[in-house]
Symmetry: C2
Subunit: 557 residues, 2 copies
């Protein structure tokens, strides 16, 4: 896992490079930040020739370490105008690492209108014609790839990315070879589409070498046991991320009817507990627990079956339940799961689209609580009507077009399913993240400390996990296990790193990201909560988002 | 002309204040910049309670000095997110000055849904109910006001401003009491709408006192003679601003089919010379020359009649011919004039909407050259369809929604009718103006100097004219007559100012505006040309916009 594969879409040149020294001891999000800062003009048009699409493997990716094979994708975001890294589960990152890649950089764009896919195997990389796949949903495209390459791992875009929709995501195959895992945020699917790349296909499996097998194995066992034994893991395994519904609803923080600050009267119908029962009762292909990548012992994923036991979607997760469920007033798993499946196949972010639909419903386009309104909007998106294109531009543009001022978004990117007035730690992260409103940048739902301090700590730790390639659902279990993480890296790579190195990765990653944005024209005024969430109270509690400007300014490194 | 009238739309409090000392020796745009910087939170929501709508009279407004009664309106712009001043012709500014006002500040917004108009006469100011006028076009509303107040001057918004459309302008009555003169840019109509103000009505005429009649009269005569005798004035009087069509088309700078950098094959059909003949031939109510305000000796305005001699629109000006004519591929005065009239009555900026329609046509929504496409889009705007709302959001949002990257706009505001690759002085002004792409901020079509230097000189001089209340069409005549301008001010006010004061007004105005934007979060990266105009050549000349970042940075004070 030591090469950088660079593909120029204008010249079609394909080069394997040795990474610069400074790239060796970071990975994933941290490496993306370094490459972006070194190579990408921060003021470039995100959908123009100067932007680059980068996939960077985490420091542990390629191994069997549980939850350490997240795919990390980055570029300048068409939604926020700043740097974006979006990671997701699935199998592709592991396969790319096992084919020897530390990172993949796609640069420039073709001058003609042809589509391509990137094929990588042990013999190297080729650009393959893909015009015949243009317009295909992600599921059909993956089936076509499996026909050609029976054992493959695919990461791809759907029509949303091809159409350069700003809320387009990038889908990655799960263990069952379905494109169910999403790097959904920031409109990275549009960046991939702008470069005319339909898919990235690891067409065979390789392997990685463990430098110090003994050290690695020892750390591996300790790490696995900690993750296995953690109560948080058990919770994810049983109820999945949907377990959060009850927690946030109790705090009046579950978004309800465009983040209007009310508890959702049907929260019990869409809770983790109800989802568990729903899946159990339906049976068939349904699974209450499921791993999205090999080796994961948490297995937070699930498979939601329809009445006949056939899969509607896998997984159904908290953010989608919040944004396409309660945020639209919909308390019905069948509807939410179907909307989710439509988004996955079309290749669009459920958070951004759910938030945009909530804004549209507030403007009177459709009715809160009426699932048929949401399906109609989804059809408009898929059919590419002007209204559909507005929604596909995300919540901020939808608010501007339809004249809604209460828009749950920061720097152009919609808020995940936490009302920042109730869950102020998430609010602090939404406001100060260089990536727009992004819960994964530093999740905080509850804390004994101050909100700002808790957000900062979470941001620092997430930068570590994201650079190692590790899923954030390990964080409760391993928050105090930094030495173990270092031991895993040393065992795998043969380096002799220490905990200070890990802290440095964290600090540098965040600083690099903030610096990129600064060069793109961001100032402290970009790191603020929208006025409406600072002024409009949650009626039942009187809460507004009231972290001060000073607190927010201090949160940035 | 010495009071500031302050109206709070939440409390309905109305107060006449004496201006602070620092407000006394500036006016119009310069005074707006000072008030904005002192009173308005630069990071506020432009359509929220913290923004203010300001009308400030120029230092010479209220007198009979030719072309010195421009109405100057300012606020934070919903289009650009920065400071905006937009001035226009007509009679209201003179009337407000003659009723004793130096400025009018409207603050906060009502908590209920009622509409109001502001009535001002010699007895003071009242807020009058206006629900019965909501939804009315500007023409019908002005007729209603004339029924109530037979001798009045009205400034108002149409449905576009009521609906908070970001391209809504503010209309002012001309001498014939028709709302034909526009403070069109920056979406100030939406700010007025957000405060639930349908109109501002000067319900009777007052007068101003000339402090030093002899000095004033002497300067007045000299100034009038210079304006009268200037060749530029004769040109405006004969051909109006439409005379620019030939000039810019010859330079390949007339926008054609979404600023695609081609000469327009029908330019001769929409030139100033053709417009003159067109009006002459039709006769009836048509006028080839016409003054928009009392005392103006330039009289650049016109009245365009239909086949039966009835007025279609007054005036038809260069910017509209460029944006709704050649930019849409339309070479037909009847169509352009009708589109213009529809915009005027609905209360929306022809530049912004024309640019948005050009972007939409490039995206395949309608056909270049097909006027019926443009009328259909205009109907969508008026009927408030989602597509209409997209267009009414302006060119930038239209480009984002429809996926067009070649969008003629800077900081969210559409370019007036000058391709910045051919007419680089305008491009320099578009890029560095704190108000988005705005030709009136520092017009330069041709120059013997460098483009940047010419833009800077023009920007400095326009800040003077805009603070005195003087129309930019005097500038060729009086560019070297600063002492005369000072004499006019001294004669009118009794002050003892000198030319240094005039330079100070200019410098301070621009600095105040840039400072407001800086506090709003603007950086040097906001003062740039869009990538597409720097990279895409005009085919026939090879020109791109190639002023360097250093040149642009130096252009800001």
């Amino acid at each position: 896992m030591n090469k950088i594969l660079r593909i120029n879409m204008k010249t079609k040149e394909i080069v394997y490079e040795s990474p610069k020294d400074e790239y060796l001891k970071t990975g994933g999000r941290g490496l993306i930040a370094k490459i972006m800062l070194a190579e990408v003009n921060p003021t470039c048009d995100p959908l123009g020739s100067e932007n680059k699409l980068i996939i960077a493997n985490g420091m542990l990716t390629g191994t069997n370490v549980s939850s350490a094979n997240r795919i990390s994708i980055g570029a300048k975001s068409p939604l926020t105008g700043g740097i974006k890294e979006s990671n997701g589960g699935g199998i592709t990152a592991m396969w790319l690492a096992q084919l020897g890649l530390k990172a993949l950089i796609v640069e420039d764009m073709p001058e003609d209108d042809n589509w391509y896919y990137i094929k990588i195997d042990k013999n190297g990389c080729t650009l393959e014609p893909a015009n015949e796949y243009a317009g295909m949903g992600t599921f059909e495209y993956c089936e076509k790839m499996i026909e050609k390459y029976p054992d493959c791992a695919v990461t791809c875009i759907g029509p949303a990315g091809e159409n350069l929709y700003h809320s387009a995501g990038i889908a990655t195959m799960d263990k069952e070879k379905k494109p169910n895992r999403y790097s959904g945020r920031g409109g990275l699917g549009a960046v991939m589409g702008s470069k005319k790349i339909k898919g990235i296909v690891a067409a065979e499996k390789g392997s990685v070498t463990i430098a110090d097998k003994e050290k690695f194995s020892e750390a591996f066992k300790a790490y696995t046991k900690i993750i296995m034994d953690a109560p948080s893991s058990a919770n994810y395994r049983t109820l999945g991320t949907a377990s959060t519904v009850r927690v946030t609803n109790d705090l009046t923080g579950l978004p309800t009817r465009n983040f209007r600050g009310e508890k959702f009267e049907h929260a019990d119908k869409i809770s983790g507990e109800s989802l568990y029962e729903f899946i159990k009762q339906r049976g068939g292909e349904g699974k209450t627990t499921h791993a999205c990548m090999p080796g994961c012992v948490i297995q937070c994923s699930n498979v939601v079956p329809d009445k006949d036991g056939k899969t509607i979607v896998s997984p159904l997760e908290y953010e989608t339940i919040g944004l396409m469920g309660s945020n639209l007033g919909i308390g019905d798993f069948d509807a939410i799961a179907k909307l989710n499946a439509m988004c996955n196949d079309f290749g669009i972010d459920t958070i951004e689209v759910g938030a945009a639909m909530g804004v549209a419903m507030e403007a009177g386009e459709g009715q809160f609580g009426d699932a048929s309104s949401a399906f109609k909007m989804m059809d408009e998106i898929i059919n590419g009507t002007v209204f559909g294109k507005v929604l596909a531009c995300g919540a901020t543009i939808t608010g501007k077009v339809l004249g809604v001022s209460h828009v749950p978004a920061v720097n152009g990117q919609a808020m995940p399913a936490y009302d920042p007035r109730a869950i102020k730690g998430m609010g602090a992260t939404f406001a100060t993240s260089p990536m727009g409103a992004d819960h994964t940048y530093g999740p905080v739902i509850k804390t004994d400390k101050g909100w700002a301090e808790a957000s900062k700590g979470s941001q620092m730790f997430m930068a570590i996990l994201d650079s190692l390639g590790i899923c954030m659902f390990t964080r409760a279990a391993i928050a105090n296990e930094k030495q173990l993480l270092v031991d895993l890296v040393n065992g795998f790579t043969g380096y002799d790193l220490d905990v200070d190195w890990l802290e440095k990765v964290s600090t540098e990653t965040i600083k690099d990201e903030l610096r990129f944005n600064e060069l793109a024209g961001f100032t402290k005024e970009n790191y603020r909560m929208p006025e409406s969430f600072m002024k409009t109270e949650i009626k039942s509690t009187g809460d507004v988002f009231d972290l001060t400007e000073e607190e927010l300014d201090e949160l940035r490194l």
